[in-house]
Symmetry: C3
Subunit: 210 residues, 3 copies
C-alpha cells in the first residue's frame, strides 16, 4: 500500500495519543473539583508526559517544547471540558479516552524509537513506557491508585500494540498497515479488559516439579 | 531601568527557588522523623527537582550537576534545620517557603526557557511545571497528598507568575521589573490562598444551553 | 592492585544493580498478582530507572536504550520469577535484593558521574539518587509506601557507599578496591538495618542554648 502516507498515519497516532490523554487528564482534574488552570496543567502533563519521557530516553529533542500548537491544544481541550455540561463527559469516558491514548502512543513510541535507531527489544519497551507514563503521572499527581496496577489488563495491551507492530514490520508489512493493526489490537484488548473486567492469568505458584 | 543587572535578578530568583524548596524538603524530612542524611537528600531533590526537569525538557545541561556549590548549599540547609531548635521552624513555615519557591521558580523557569529559544506558550508551561515539580516530588516521596491537588490555589499561582512575566515582557518592560512583578504577584496569590484558604471557582456544570 | 580490571569491576556492579533491582521489581509485581507482562515491565523500570535518571542528569546517552541485552535480561528475570515455585522467593528476598542493588548502584552511579566530569559533591548525590530511584519508582507505581521513608536506614546506606568510595579514591586507593569496599560497607549497613530494624538517630529538638 505505497499510496498511504506513512508519516501522516504516524502523526495522527501521535496527535490521538496527546489529545485523548490530555482529555483524560482534564476530566480527572474536573472530577477532583480543581480549577480551570489546574485542569489545563493536568491536560498537558498527561498528554505529553509519555512522549516527553520517550524523547528524553532516546535522546530526541522533546517534541512539544518547541511547538506551541501542542501546548495550546492541551489548554483548549481543558477549556472545552470546562465550559461544556458535565453530562457530556460520563465517568467511563476517561477510561476509554485513556485506552485510545494507550494504544496510539504505544505504537507511535515504538515507531519513533525505531526511527532514532533503537533496536527492537528496547523499542518495544519504549512503546510500553511511553504509552503508560502519561496516565501514570496523571494518577500519581491526582493521588489515585495507578492505572497500571488495576486488576484488568493495561500494560499488556500496550505491549500487544507495540509488539504486533514490530512483528508485522518484520513480516514485511508497510508501516501504516502495521501501525493501524497494532494500535487497533491494543485498543481492542484494553477495551475488552474495561468492558468485561478482563485479566490475563495472574501469577500462581506452579505445581512442584521433581 | 537599564541599570538593574538583569542577570543578577534572575540568578537571585533561581537561588531563592532552590534555597526555599530545599528548606521545605528538609523540614518535611525532619517532621517525618527521618535522619540527617535523608533530610539532605530531601533538601536536594526538592530544591533542584523542578529545575532539573526544566533543563532536561529544554535540552540545557542540568544546572546543578557541574556546580558543587548548589548541592553543598542544600546539604548546609538540611544541617541548619537539623541542629536548630524545632520551635524555630513552625509548621506553616514549610508552606510559606514553598510559596516563595513556587513564585520564584515559575518566573525563572519561564525566563530560562525563553533564553533557550522556547516559544511563549511552552515557556509558560515550563515555568508552571518547574515551579510545581520540586514540591510535588517532595510530597510523592514523603507519601503525603500532592500539594498541587489541595483545594487552595497552587498551580494557578505559578501560572500567574509566569504569565504576568510574559505579558509584561511583551508590553516592553525590562526583564528585571517584569520578573519582580511576576514573582510578587504569584507569591501574593499563593500567600492569600494559604492565609484565607482561597480557591478559584472550581468546576461546576454550566446551565444547559440551547 | 593494578592487575584488577577496573572496568570489569565497575561493569559487574552495574549489572548487579540492574539484575537485583529487576528481580525486586518482578517479585513486587508477582506479589501484587499482576500478569507476566506487567512483571516484565516492573523488572525493567525498577532495574534501569536509577541508571536512566543518572544518565539524563549527567548528559550521558541512556545506557540501556541502545543495548538490547539489558532489556532482554530484565524480561528473562521476570520470566524466571514467573515460572518458578513461589517458595523459592520468600518475602524478605525482595528487601535483600534491593539492598544489593542499592549499594552496587550507588557506587556505580558515583563512578560514572566522575567519569563524565561531575565534581565530587554532585557525584555523591548522583550515587544516592541513582541508588534510590529504581526502588522508589517501583514503590510509587505499586502504590506502597516509598522504601526511602521507612524508619530503618536506606538513603544513608547509599550515601555511605558513595561517600566511602569517594574518600578511598581521594586517599589514593585503586578504583576496584574503593568500589568493592564502598559497596560492601553500604550493603552491610543496609543489611544491618533490615536485620535489626536499625535506624540512625532521627531528628530531636536539641536543648535550648543561650
Amino acid at each position: 500500500m505505497p499510496d498511504i502516507d506513512n508519516a501522516l498515519i504516524i502523526r495522527l497516532l501521535d496527535l490521538a495519543g496527546i489529545g485523548v490523554f490530555a482529555l483524560s487528564g482534564a476530566l480527572m482534574a474536573v472530577r477532583l473539583r480543581q480549577t480551570l488552570v489546574t485542569a489545563a496543567f493536568f491536560a498537558l502533563v498527561t498528554g505529553v508526559g509519555g512522549g516527553s519521557v520517550r524523547d528524553l530516553l532516546i535522546g530526541a529533542p522533546v517534541f512539544w517544547v518547541h511547538d506551541s500548537a501542542i501546548a495550546a491544544m492541551c489548554i483548549a481541550i481543558a477549556l472545552i471540558v470546562w465550559i461544556t455540561p458535565e453530562r457530556w463527559w460520563p465517568g467511563h469516558l476517561l477510561e476509554w479516552a485513556d485506552a485510545v491514548g494507550l494504544a496510539g502512543y504505544a505504537v507511535f513510541g515504538t515507531a519513533k524509537a525505531l526511527a532514532w535507531g533503537v533496536p527492537p527489544v528496547p523499542a518495544l519497551m519504549m512503546g510500553v513506557i511511553t504509552g503508560c507514563v502519561g496516565g501514570t503521572i496523571r494518577d500519581i499527581l491526582a493521588g489515585v491508585p495507578s492505572i497500571i496496577m488495576r486488576p484488568e489488563i493495561y500494560v499488556t495491551a500496550a505491549a500487544l500494540a507495540s509488539g504486533l507492530y514490530l512483528v508485522l514490520l518484520w513480516l514485511g508489512l508497510g508501516t501504516a498497515v502495521a501501525a493501524i493493526i497494532g494500535a487497533c489490537a491494543g485498543f481492542i484488548l484494553r477495551g475488552a479488559a474495561i468492558r468485561w473486567s478482563l485479566g490475563l492469568p495472574v501469577y500462581k505458584a506452579p505445581p512442584e516439579s521433581g
